[in-house]
């Protein structure tokens, strides 16, 4: 009797195990994502989500990957590394995620990196721009992290190269948020200037969520730099720009200025004329693939895409391409497939990861002339 029960139990266990295995092979391929859905940069997190979801919807409309549907599971990190570590650790412990997508904020991405390395799950970075992410990836140590967007250092090198040619690289002041994003901007700019025997005139950082910038802006104005490199996003950017205008700054901006988010009254006034900026993307780029992307995105979400939505869209497409080529959607196979990526970007360039698992797409250099934003060139990062 006991023998019969044991046989029955073993058979039941085998059936369950087979069912689970079959389900794992036929069920959806799930990507885990950690992004700020609440908090100070939730606006960007929302665009990251929209971009990623659009790419997945398009892939699923074409049959998914390896005959399976693709899903993405978003967890909120509030742009806080501690929150991200908590949610990503939980995701990784469930062992159902084929890859982890982004983090949006540089501090968050840097905090996720050791987690995915220990768990052996690919981590693909779309938006976080800190140079140290790439420095620590691939030959830098972490074989599981891949970074699609350019680093701050590479973009700023392109920008400073252009400023230097124009004779404008001297006497630059820096103001940025006190995060890995701002700190990477400062060190990237310092490094790019040092190559050209220049240095920053002054450096200051602010806490995210600061409302009043008038003390520091008054200080910067009094120092009379030739350019002010600004590393601020979201509400911080809006507050800085408006207060800079009301103080009559009179000094053009540079760095990663969000030229598309400058209030139209300030832009039209010509106050920011002479401003230069470098960004990996602009919705107005005239390529056939970009036109389709902008049109589809705008139709679906009733709002035009921005840099963050583009980067997320392109990164998820690169990940899906790797999943399709992996053969079995296992984390290790996806990692190997990512390493051999050859993907045609919306910007028209052919993308491949280098030894540091970093892609070198083109960066776009903008200027504000006569109250309008103009693209003045593209430079390989």
């Amino acid at each position: 009797m006991f023998k019969m029960r044991l046989t029955f139990g073993a058979a039941a266990f085998a059936v369950l195990a087979c069912t689970a295995f079959a389900q794992a092979q036929t069920g959806p391929i799930i990507i885990g994502a950690s992004t700020p859905l609440t908090g100070g940069v939730a606006h960007f997190g929302q665009h990251a989500r929209w971009g990623a979801e659009l790419a997945i919807a398009e892939a699923n409309a074409k049959g998914g990957a390896l005959g399976r549907k693709i899903e993405i599971d978003f967890q909120d990190n509030r742009c806080n590394p501690a929150e991200a570590v908590k949610s990503v650790t939980l995701m990784l412990s469930e062992k159902k995620y084929a890859a982890i997508f982004d983090g949006l904020c540089s501090s968050v991405a840097l905090a996720i990196m050791p987690l995915v390395e220990r768990a052996g799950v690919p981590f693909i970075v779309a938006n976080a721009s800190a140079t140290s992410i790439a420095e620590r990836s691939g030959v830098g140590g972490n074989k599981w992290t891949f970074k699609v967007n350019p680093t701050d250092a590479s973009m700023l090198d392109a920008l400073v190269g252009w400023l230097d040619k124009e004779g404008k690289a001297a006497n630059i002041a820096f103001l940025g948020e006190d995060t890995d994003f701002g700190r990477a901007g400062s060190s990237g700019l310092e490094a790019a200037l040092k190559k050209r025997n220049q240095k920053l005139t002054m450096v200051d950082f602010f806490q995210k969520g600061t409302a009043d910038f008038t003390p520091v802006l008054t200080k910067i104005k009094a120092k009379k730099p030739a350019l002010l490199a600004l590393y601020a996003i979201d509400a911080d950017f809006q507050n800085t720009i408006r207060q800079w205008y009301s103080l009559g700054g009179g000094i053009p901006l540079t760095g990663r200025v969000l030229v598309d988010q400058v209030p139209k009254e300030i832009m039209a006034s010509g106050f920011l004329d002479g401003t230069t900026s470098v960004q990996p993307y602009d919705p107005s780029l005239d390529t056939p693939a970009n036109k389709i992307f902008v049109e589809t995105f705008t139709k679906k979400y009733n709002v035009a895409p921005m840099l963050i939505s583009f980067e997320s869209y392109e990164t998820i497409n690169i990940l899906i391409d790797a999943i399709r080529r992996s053969g079995n959607a296992s984390p290790a196979a996806i990692r190997d497939a990512l390493a051999t990526t050859r993907y045609r970007s919306i910007l028209g360039t052919l993308l491949e990861f280098d030894a540091n698992n970093l892609i070198h797409n083109n960066a776009i250099i903008f200027a504000i002339k006569g109250g309008k934003v103009v693209i003045i060139g593209m430079s390989k990062t």
Binding site: G39, F205, F206, D212
Partner: protein
């Protein structure tokens, strides 16, 4: 660094101080009368700014009508808030009041994220991009109006508290609720009015500051903790103390921010608060008597 630089810092500091005072006075009044620390105070400021944004941007209402409408709605909201949630709370329910107002803050903040998204909104009124320029000194018109309305609000509140029967009743309830009841003052009506004025002041602050700062659901957060520090520095429950401490902090922050790294400025309010708690626990202007 010339005289203009120092004068501009001082001017900026005075404006920032009055802005802080506008938010801190309401908080101080509610604490003074009800002994409740309203953790949702920043959210009422945010809702005031959000409402002002929609009135001006979507419905084309002018600046002054917007300020009046938002303040009126905030006062009504204060009445409802008191009757619906705060009526059963007393000083001895301090923990309950913290949990309740903290919970309310979360509900309001996340509700605003859900309804309005976190996209920062810029209120563009006729004042938004105009400046008063005297020599090399510049003062945006929107900040000048904030300064004027802040001072007017303080003067009005002072007059109500010290020169009207209602104000006397409020001070009576703040000092001894039971004694006030014995002499015929209705503590419930007085408390309701105090909450309505307090929330009204935060709504007014939101409407006045909407053209000054980016409007978004998290904007109250950065101010409310500073406002707590201010009312402790000024003396818990002292309206004049809160206003003077706010002005002092604004000027101090601006002057320090003009010379030292900006990240150090945020710590000033809390360093000052700790110093005051150590040296004069009742606050700079606290006399052990509230309001």
């Amino acid at each position: 660094m010339d005289l203009n630089f120092h004068a501009q810092l001082l001017l900026n500091g005075i404006v920032i101080g009055v802005i802080y005072a506008l938010i801190a006075m309401g908080l101080s009044l509610i604490f003074g009368v009800l002994e409740i620390v309203n953790f949702a105070h920043g959210e009422f400021y945010m809702l005031g700014a959000m409402f002002a944004y929609f009135l001006t941007a979507n419905w084309g209402v002018g600046y002054w009508p917007t300020v009046l409408i938002v303040t009126g709605v905030a006062i009504s909201l204060g009445y409802v808030l008191y009757e619906a949630l705060l009526v059963s709370l007393r000083g001895e329910n301090f923990e309950r009041s913290i949990l309740l107002t903290l919970g309310l803050s979360m509900v309001l903040q996340n509700g605003a994220v859900f309804l309005f998204t976190t996209t920062p909104k810029m209120t563009a009124t006729g004042l938004s991009y105009s400046n008063i320029i005297v020599g090399e000194l510049r003062l945006p018109l929107a900040r000048l109006f904030a300064l004027g309305l802040g001072l007017a609000a303080f003067a009005a509140l002072y007059l109500v508290l010290y020169h009207t029967r209602v104000g006397k009743a409020m001070r009576g309830v703040a000092q001894n609720r039971d004694a006030a009841l014995m002499v015929g003052i209705d503590p419930r009506a007085v408390s309701r009015l105090a909450v309505a004025i307090g929330i009204g002041l935060s709504g007014l602050a939101g409407a006045v500051l909407a053209p000054v700062y980016a409007v978004h659901p998290l904007m109250g957060f950065s101010f409310v903790f500073k406002a707590f520090a201010i009312i402790i520095i000024g003396g818990l429950g002292s309206i004049s103390g809160a206003a003077i401490a706010a002005l002092m902090l604004g000027v101090l922050e601006s002057l320090v921010g003009g010379f030292l790294p900006l990240v150090m400025v945020d710590a000033l309010a809390f360093i000052s608060m700790i110093a005051v708690l150590l040296l004069r626990p009742q606050g700079l202007f606290g006399r052990g008597v509230r309001v």
